[in-house]
Symmetry: C2
Subunit: 449 residues, 2 copies
Amino acid sequence: MTRQIKLGAFLPGGGQHIAAWRHPGSPADGATSFAFHTELARTAERGLFDAYFLADNLSVGLGGREGGNAKIAGFEPVTLFAALAPLTTHLGFIATASTTYEEPYTLARKFASLDHLSNGRAGWNVVTSAGDETARNFNRNKQPDHADRYARAREHVDTVKALWDSWEDDAFIRDKQTGRFYDPAKVHDIDHKGAHFAVKGPLNVPRPVQGHPVVVQAGQSEDGRRLAALSAEVIFTAHQNLASAQEFYRDIKARVIAEGRVPEHVLIMPGVAPFVGRTEAEARAKYDKLTELILPEDGVALLNGLAGGTLDIRGYPLDGPLPKSAETEGMKSRQALIRQIADEHNFTIRELYQWIATARGHYTIVGSATQVADQLEEWFHNEAADGFNILPPWLPGALNDFVDLVVPELQRRGLFRTAYEGRTLRENLGLPRPVNPWTVSRSSLQAAE
Amino acid sequence: MTRQIKLGAFLPGGGQHIAAWRHPGSPADGATSFAFHTELARTAERGLFDAYFLADNLSVGLGGREGGNAKIAGFEPVTLFAALAPLTTHLGFIATASTTYEEPYTLARKFASLDHLSNGRAGWNVVTSAGDETARNFNRNKQPDHADRYARAREHVDTVKALWDSWEDDAFIRDKQTGRFYDPAKVHDIDHKGAHFAVKGPLNVPRPVQGHPVVVQAGQSEDGRRLAALSAEVIFTAHQNLASAQEFYRDIKARVIAEGRVPEHVLIMPGVAPFVGRTEAEARAKYDKLTELILPEDGVALLNGLAGGTLDIRGYPLDGPLPKSAETEGMKSRQALIRQIADEHNFTIRELYQWIATARGHYTIVGSATQVADQLEEWFHNEAADGFNILPPWLPGALNDFVDLVVPELQRRGLFRTAYEGRTLRENLGLPRPVNPWTVSRSSLQAAE
């Protein structure tokens, strides 16, 4: 089959752009409106998106109390997605959850539940939850350092996968006549004892419909890339230009091969924030309209928040340059990206936050449907992307524009599906269902007999 | 308004009776069927139940690997209830969650999310999660002892409530014109630092629709009663006869008054397992039919599991008495209850598990709708109950019987609603919406000026 673009939809109810909630066409209470999230999910499904994706914070986040920010409060992602599952039929749900502040048993369980409830449409975006603000909600003064967080993440992901495999697919017999509900030979303790966790198992949920919910990762640091190459099946990433995306793409695919994995089974999906118009001028007008709605204090808080509270630029002149500051244990990749954008464009603080406010570091495309499709096609055909995570700057308008204008253009070019290929997220992404090692070893034993 | 009976529906998809899944009318895969849980929720709502209630374990539980047990694997309750919320309009959802193995921030957040998603229909059944089997899924060899679990539970509940109150009800301004999204004066750190938790806050979810999801408790030990008197608004409890239920009811109401709380705002709801027929003989036949379906090894595993793994009676003759065993740090109230039933009826092991299998220690009523209503009315009018948690022994049959036969009888007697009184669980239960202490202190200050 011809290789086609995969699409995620990043749809925080309050919108991606920091001023999205002030847009005349956006509901100001979208972040906490279930009805609005339902509308977004249905639109994404109409657009044949692979998945609805939600980031997550375990604190109010983004610079604290000042200013206006629709992302400051919303729904816990798995709870929200569970509620959206029965209202949709094909759309996948990729929820972010933390390896630093959640236990493997609890996490494995809620994602397995979501996968069953949605008939195989769950994905887990693995994050290590940077920031001291979050640490202080979980009995700590400071976050664990970067390397520790990633060591814990590796062990956590392995433990969660082992729990998902603790029941074999055919463990349940449910024979009313004999009273045998399950086959004790097909349920397994995992007996995990590691540096960070001790978990006996088995899980109290049957093996997920997809075997494992799709494992997603987004870190771009060295530790993040290592974790992604080891365990991720979808990688979200942020790049400002083709060359940067290509470097990342080629590096990850090489690491995946070095791990003995199949590179086609690791999909790299850069974030893209599209402003789409019937003409380029119309698209530009949409961009300008949103930019004008940014309050300066919100812009400054955004930069600070994105860098994990490590870029404190309050007090510096808005029309001067970004001050230098030391690298910390915060979100290294984000700090570097912000600095790179400022240097590349020689931006003042104001220009920087205006640029970043659009898509928080992701690639922004302003143009007609043809122009947007051209850009996506270029990245897709030149080792920069297997698909894209679409971050509509405001909602529902920019999502509707993408679905109504860009999706048909991609379909005309044969670059995107015209109907869902399968029932599960994994089937639509073209990812294999993980084999269960317990089942494999039983089959090998039987074959050897 | 006349005092009326409140009703919870305890509906594990696999059924309450240990052999429920073998019933010819029950789906053998009900425990993991979302479609079946949806049917149950809709039936409970048709019956005007206040809430759908789910217990929970953080391990496969109930005696390990032997035998057939539909409760061994299912959905995580909050995830399941979130999915049921958009498919229902009035039914409340009381989910069990652990103060021993979950963090206050995470727990506060998922229940606040469920409360928003369901428009105010969430309840939290507070449990301390007994058993070493569970401890071993969470980095421990043994469970914390009983007193420690309860001390942690008290601090946990207080912390969760403080997080729910960290945003005042009117904190969100969402003024598109000025760009003010919220009022910084109306969001508060909680700055909790206690023996078990340190949580700064605020929560990243707005204050729940109900102020607080309804807080439910079920412990019957001394520690459990103290916790319930301090913080519970609904108390589930297990009693085999009127005198025992009365003792509990009077004791709790006295403790509630001693805490300075209003006794009418703490609803005591004993569990009842009804076998209902058009005649008593028909009801009796339903009881016998289920009892015949119990496999002996399942009955033994059930007794052991109910006592938290502390009543190991494997190897003892089934037609002999229950052996004596030392009281342990397990679920004290359950062990005592099992012993009490055995002594009271002079039961053999087989007779004991047949009795317990029906409702796992709850009160069983076998009779016509009139007889069942008579029993409920007697308890309701004699300081034994403010309502009942109905545990249909098999599903959907015993739930349908209750809704179709007993509910109309209770309505005829004026003992039960004929339509939901309100929109939220709290409104239907007749419980006040908790005031926010931050809002109260602001009002007092303003009044004093």
